[in-house]
């Protein structure tokens, strides 16, 4: 297959010389595979009713942007793979005129339908079986917005392939700095670490840091030895636009377990050195490309479109295809010609108002997109929100940073808090407040969700069809909806409360909602993150993602350089906590702690102190009610971890360190131990964590210290005395 395509490409090069202005005039038609299904659940509950690619992004379905771009990029033939809601996608293609177009100069669009595909891998296997792809093709998902010129990237790909048939794929990447605070890109994705050969642009390593448990990047040493130079990037964004050779399809077929394009396919190819396939990158210099993967990226890309980064795919240019025509006014306000706008209504910068929409007196619309045929009453405040078509918003409503789908009805005085998603035709009653980050749909939440994202049957119709007639709205988890004022207990439809099911947030939990919602990150969260970065990054451990910055790349090094020891201590403590919780093998724990020690370039003695601190802390956490139980748990903990501690107390200095640490703890951080000092000290001696030499030296050192420092020496005077006597006895015995 590859041979065939290559010979075609070679033959085409000569013939192409005749064509002048057409970008990519070549005899073998340029093909594209467009995945009209995201195979994720990020846009639920909306995607239960409409496929993601048909969701409007600033008035136009996302797929329209993608198809328009493909056509302008010179693609001759596009295969639209549709799975979930395939009839809707096909209907759209026919209605919008894409499907019927055929002939010179325009792109032929063919729908490929499958009902059992559950991942991008399956989709490509189906495409392969159809045998419609003959040459190199562009792989893109139907939610990608771009205006880049493919010419250079394609040329690069072709040239490379001529030289090296194993170069099967060119990934388009774009420079975009992730936020230092959240370690997210602007699109709400996790940052990606890539290693790229600066000369050949070959991709050597790819890791999206979805699971933040990775504190560092592990790069195979082969990569380092085989490449004289490589660049590590965490400031690149994956555009999810790939130029693929036909081999890619057969690779998917051969490796039937490849599901995800990046996590499986790309990583699989990079790891597999038997076949030797190579992936290259093309950095996008001028031009825009972004994929809408979650609500955050929906928000960001919408704003980019409004700010015209996607030119010419901007509302006033591209709207010619359908009827609505909008014009750009000053300050980035797009308004259709037939908008009924009250004189006292105020439309702020960077807003879009669709045709046939009426806006009443004293309304304020800021940074928002309002669809077609909406009716907005008086004194409505809409801020940073996306209102789709035919929405009715009655007087005095407030909508901020939310997504309101078509046909939604907000009754007077309703308040929609940031981050909400109201799916199609939901009704919100009078003076009802929809709490932040809630998702409301007329369809109930499918119960059989399994947590693994990849295995999920994205947007399939199954399990949805048997939705009960919604007489008993608010049934599913209605504790989340607290009608603000009139909690009168009546559940009549439409008079109060919300018509629709309130979806409980998935396994990500409410803690993570802020990451990918439309609403901006709340101030408190930002401050918290700021705090975490500037002071000590361990404080984030409640959310179970201890971050370790500055391991990653070239761009943002040295965010904080305060006391490395306290940081180290925190790290050790966290590691220890994990060991406690997950039952990590003690050997591994030692390894990890040693690793940390090396990373912070500290002494063995420091380690001892830190480990001891962690052990004691764990005892303290376990029981803190009375001194007796504390003593008991401490004894238990010391008993359990004595091997670990002993590992670090090989010399007297280290033992001293433990004692000093213990003293310090009693004085400063954990005063709970102070009355027990004298009782725990013998225990330490018994478990052979500290030797008598160490205790004696400690006592000697303290002799000359201040009175306040001697508290614990005095407290344990009896024990020291006993030790001394025992020593003398020993001496005597020996003599």
């Amino acid at each position: 297959m590859s041979k065939k395509s290559r010979s075609r490409g070679g033959g085409g090069a000569g013939a192409a010389a005749g064509d002048d202005h057409e970008d990519l005039a070549r005899p073998p038609p340029l093909q594209a595979v467009l995945l009209a299904d995201s195979f994720t659940l990020k846009f639920r509950p909306i995607t239960l009713e409409r496929p993601k690619v048909l969701l409007p992004l600033v008035h136009m379905p996302m797929i329209e942007y993608t198809l328009t771009w493909l056509e302008s990029a010179g693609v001759d033939e596009a295969f639209v793979f549709c799975c979930a809601h395939s009839h809707q996608v096909k209907e759209y293609l026919e209605k919008s005129g894409w499907a019927e177009k055929a002939g010179a100069g325009s792109m032929a669009v063919t729908a490929v339908e499958s009902h059992d595909a559950i991942s991008a891998g399956d989709a490509l296997r189906v495409i392969y079986e159809r045998g419609v792809i003959h040459g190199d093709f562009i792989l893109i998902s139907g939610d990608t917005i771009s205006n880049m010129s493919l010419k250079d990237a394609l040329q690069e790909h072709m040239d490379r392939k001529k030289k090296d048939p194993l170069a099967v794929m060119t990934m388009i990447i774009k420079h975009s700095k992730p936020s230092i605070l959240t370690h997210q890109t602007r699109l709400g994705n996790d940052e990606i670490v890539m290693a790229i050969d600066p000369e050949t642009k070959e991709l050597l390593y790819y890791e999206d840091r979805a699971d933040n448990s990775h504190l560092y990047v592990t790069i195979d040493k082969d990569i380092l030895t085989n490449n004289p130079s490589l660049q590590l990037h965490n400031d690149m964004e994956d555009c999810y636009i790939d130029i693929c050779s036909p081999e890619v399809l057969s690779l998917f077929t051969d490796n039937f377990d490849y599901q995800h394009l990046r996590r499986h396919f790309v990583k699989g190819l990079l790891v597999d050195d038997i076949m030797g396939y190579k992936i290259y990158t093309h950095e996008l210099r001028s031009g825009y490309a972004a994929r809408i993967d979650n609500f955050r990226s929906y928000d960001t890309v919408s704003k980019d479109v409004i700010q015209r980064w996607t030119y010419p795919m901007v509302p006033d240019v591209i709207s010619s295809r359908d009827c609505s025509e909008s014009r750009l006014h000053r300050q980035g306000i797009y308004k259709a010609s037939d908008v009924t706008l009250s004189h006292s209504a105020q439309i702020g910068a960077n807003s879009v108002v669709g045709s046939g929409t009426s806006i009443g007196d004293h309304c304020k619309v800021l940074n928002s997109v309002i669809g077609e045929g909406c009716k907005i009453g008086k004194n409505v405040l809409i801020n940073g929100s996306y209102i789709w078509d035919n929405v009715i918003i009655e007087d005095g409503c407030k909508v901020s940073n939310s997504l309101v789908c078509g046909g939604v009805h907000l009754k007077a005085g309703a308040i929609v808090e940031p981050g909400c998603v109201l799916s199609f035709n939901v009704e919100v009653g009078k003076n009802v407040g929809v709490p932040a980050h809630s998702k409301v749909s007329l369809l109930p939440q499918p119960s059989n969700e399994d947590s693994d994202e990849e295995l999920e049957y994205a947007d399939t119709n199954s399990g949805v069809t048997e939705s009960p007639p919604f007489s008993s709205m608010r049934s599913n988890g209605d504790q989340a909806t607290v009608p603000s004022e009139d909690e009168s207990g009546t559940f009549e439809i439409g008079t109060c409360g919300v018509v629709g099911y309130i979806w409980t947030s998935g396994d990500t939990g409410i803690l993570e909602e802020w990451r990918q919602s439309i609403a901006p990150i709340p101030k408190e969260k930002l401050e918290e993150l700021q705090h975490a970065v500037s002071e000590d990054d361990g404080s984030e451990d409640e959310s179970n993602n201890p971050t370790q910055p500055d391991k990653d790349d070239s761009s943002d090094i040295a965010v904080e350089d305060d006391d490395p020891f306290s940081k180290f201590e925190k790290e050790v403590e966290e590691t220890f906590q994990r060991a406690l919780g997950g039952g990590v093998n003690q050997d591994n724990l030692i390894l990890e702690i040693n690793g940390l020690r090396l990373a912070y370039s500290l002494q063995h003695a420091d380690c001892a102190g830190a480990v001891f601190y962690s052990v004691m802390k764990s005892a303290l956490v376990a029981a803190q009610s009375t001194n007796d139980t504390l003593l008991k748990t401490t004894a238990e903990a010391l008993g359990k971890w004595k091997d670990l501690l002993r590992n670090y107390t090989k010399t007297v200095d280290e033992e001293m360190e433990i004692l000093l640490k213990f003293e310090e703890m009693c004085q400063e951080t954990t005063k709970e131990f102070s009355p027990l000092f004298s009782k725990i000290l013998p225990f330490l001696y018994d478990t052979e964590v500290v030797s008598e030499d160490a205790i004696m030296r400690w006592a000697e050192e303290k002799e000359h210290a201040d009175e306040s420092d001697k508290v614990f020496v005095k407290q344990s005077e009896a024990f020291i005395q006993w030790l001394k006597e025992a020593e003398e006895e020993d001496d005597e015995e020996e003599e």
Binding site: G287, Q307, S320
Partner: protein, 463 residues
């Protein structure tokens, strides 16, 4: 400053001075005033349109978007309209010309809506409508004279407006009135009887000679179509060769050892300067680079290839250099009916600098750039905001656009307008293919190319 007199006009000089042509006028008009240009006047898209070209035009409208530069756009539009005319099936209805015009209007409307900023599209659509009207009138004139016209006299009709010896004086006058006058009530009324006139003549001849009726009818429609296609072909030729008559005037304007300043790159300006150079004029050119697209760099290269002394300056240095400049010569995107110019961004600044130092500001523009509309709010409505990526690198500024940490509202806004509006009072002279004209004369020049009732290109609701 030498201001060449306007070239001799076609024999229409005796007409009363045209009253205001385009401004909101007191005359009763069936059409909305043209100042509504900004607000779209679009009928629902013509999906149901039965013209075979209608579907292709919607894709071609996308093509028009892609074509850059008013010259290329004008050419493509003319070619498209020619194919529309040639594909148009002449029905047997009496008013052939009106049907043809309607077909053109339907496509033209879509084209204009596809790219309202590119005024050349509208200009060409209006020119074609004007051509149809003229050819129709000449055909009527022939009809009055009887069906004596032989096929070999066709060639005379191919040329666009001038020399039409066989026309009767009455028709010529009517035609000229039609072209130059505001759409008064009279012209509106005149517009309607055209069709009865044809049918009447046809029937009158038919009465006398029943046999020749159908044959004559058919041949006349075919001839109309043929003439229109030929005339559009002339129009395309005219667009193609518009640089020649303009650059012929270069020697008269550029004198020995003068310093010329220009902004950005205009092909018309380039040809103009080339022509002066070929005539052995020695002069120097300051090229303002024309941020953010820096087309001035390209122009500088081209000029140096021809051996012209060239200096590249930044746009912001224009004011500092203008005192050493003898003349500013620039291109335009469009010339409006009031003599105002839509030009690449930065031009207004250059014009103001030129005015401050009393340096002549000369605009060179082909006739396809003459737009019969008045600019209303041109800074916004006739402007186009391009992608900010011309100005900034997205990657470098991506950290300024983390909306999630900026409370939702973008803090960084980038505005990248394409055009400037230069008011007529800042323009010293226009050089078009018909010669040099002062801004206040532009409305009259424009009136020669367009019929007054085509200003708003919209399909008439056909009964």
């Amino acid at each position: 400053m030498l201001v060449p007199l306007p070239l001799p006009l076609p024999p229409r000089k005796t007409l009363t001075p045209p009253r205001l042509l385009l401004a909101a006028d007191p005359h009763p008009k069936s059409e909305p005033p043209p100042h509504l240009l900004g607000s779209p006047l679009r009928a629902p898209p013509c999906r149901t349109c039965s013209h075979s070209s209608a579907t292709s035009s919607s894709s071609l409208s996308a093509v028009v978007r892609k074509v850059e530069g008013s010259h290329a756009v004008a050419r493509q539009t003319a070619e498209l309209l020619r194919s529309v005319v040639s594909q148009h099936r002449m029905g047997s209805s009496a008013n052939q010309a009106a049907a043809l015009a309607d077909a053109v209007r339907a496509v033209g409307e879509q084209l204009i809506a596809a790219n309202p900023i590119e005024l050349a599209v509208g200009n060409i659509v209006r020119r074609v409508l004007h051509i149809i009207k003229e050819e129709d009138i000449s055909a009527t004139a022939v009809g009055i004279e009887g069906l004596s016209v032989t096929v070999d006299s066709d060639d005379e009709y191919d040329s666009e407006h001038d020399d039409r010896p066989s026309l009767s004086a009455a028709v010529l006058a009517a035609h000229a009135r039609n072209a130059l006058r505001a759409p008064s009530l009279q012209t509106l009324l005149e517009d309607i009887p055209v069709s009865p006139a044809i049918s009447r003549t046809a029937s009158s001849t038919g009465d006398s000679d029943g046999k020749s009726k159908s044959a004559g009818d058919k041949s006349s429609t075919r001839k109309l179509k043929h003439d229109v296609i030929a005339a559009i072909g002339d129009l395309i030729d005219e667009i193609d060769s518009c640089y020649e008559p303009i650059s012929e005037q270069a020697v008269e304007l550029i004198h020995q050892n003068e310093v010329i300043l220009t902004l950005g790159r205009s092909r018309t300006v380039k040809e103009f300067l080339y022509a002066a150079k070929e005539k052995k004029r020695s002069f120097r050119v300051f090229v303002a680079e024309g941020a953010p697209r820096y087309q001035g760099h390209v122009l500088a290269k081209e000029l140096v290839e021809k051996g012209v002394q060239t200096t590249v300056i930044t746009d912001s240095a224009v004011f500092a250099m203008i005192s050493r400049v003898n003349m500013v010569i620039v291109g335009a995107h469009a010339v409006m009916a009031n003599g105002g110019v839509i030009a690449p961004v930065g031009m207004n600044m250059v014009a103001l600098a030129a005015q401050r130092h009393a340096v002549p500001f000369v605009v060179v523009a082909g006739s396809h750039k003459l737009c019969p509309l008045y600019p209303h709010n041109p800074e916004v409505l006739l402007n186009e905001l391009k992608s900010p990526s011309d100005l900034l690198d997205f990657g470098d500024f991506s950290d300024c656009m983390h909306f999630s940490t900026q409370d939702g509202s973008p803090l960084l806004n980038v505005v990248n307008p394409t055009f400037d509006y230069v008011p007529p009072k800042l323009v010293s002279l226009f050089i078009t293919d018909t010669g040099g004209h002062s801004p206040s004369y532009m409305y009259r020049l424009i009136a020669e190319y367009y019929s007054a009732d085509d200003l708003v290109v919209r399909r008439k609701s056909t009964a």
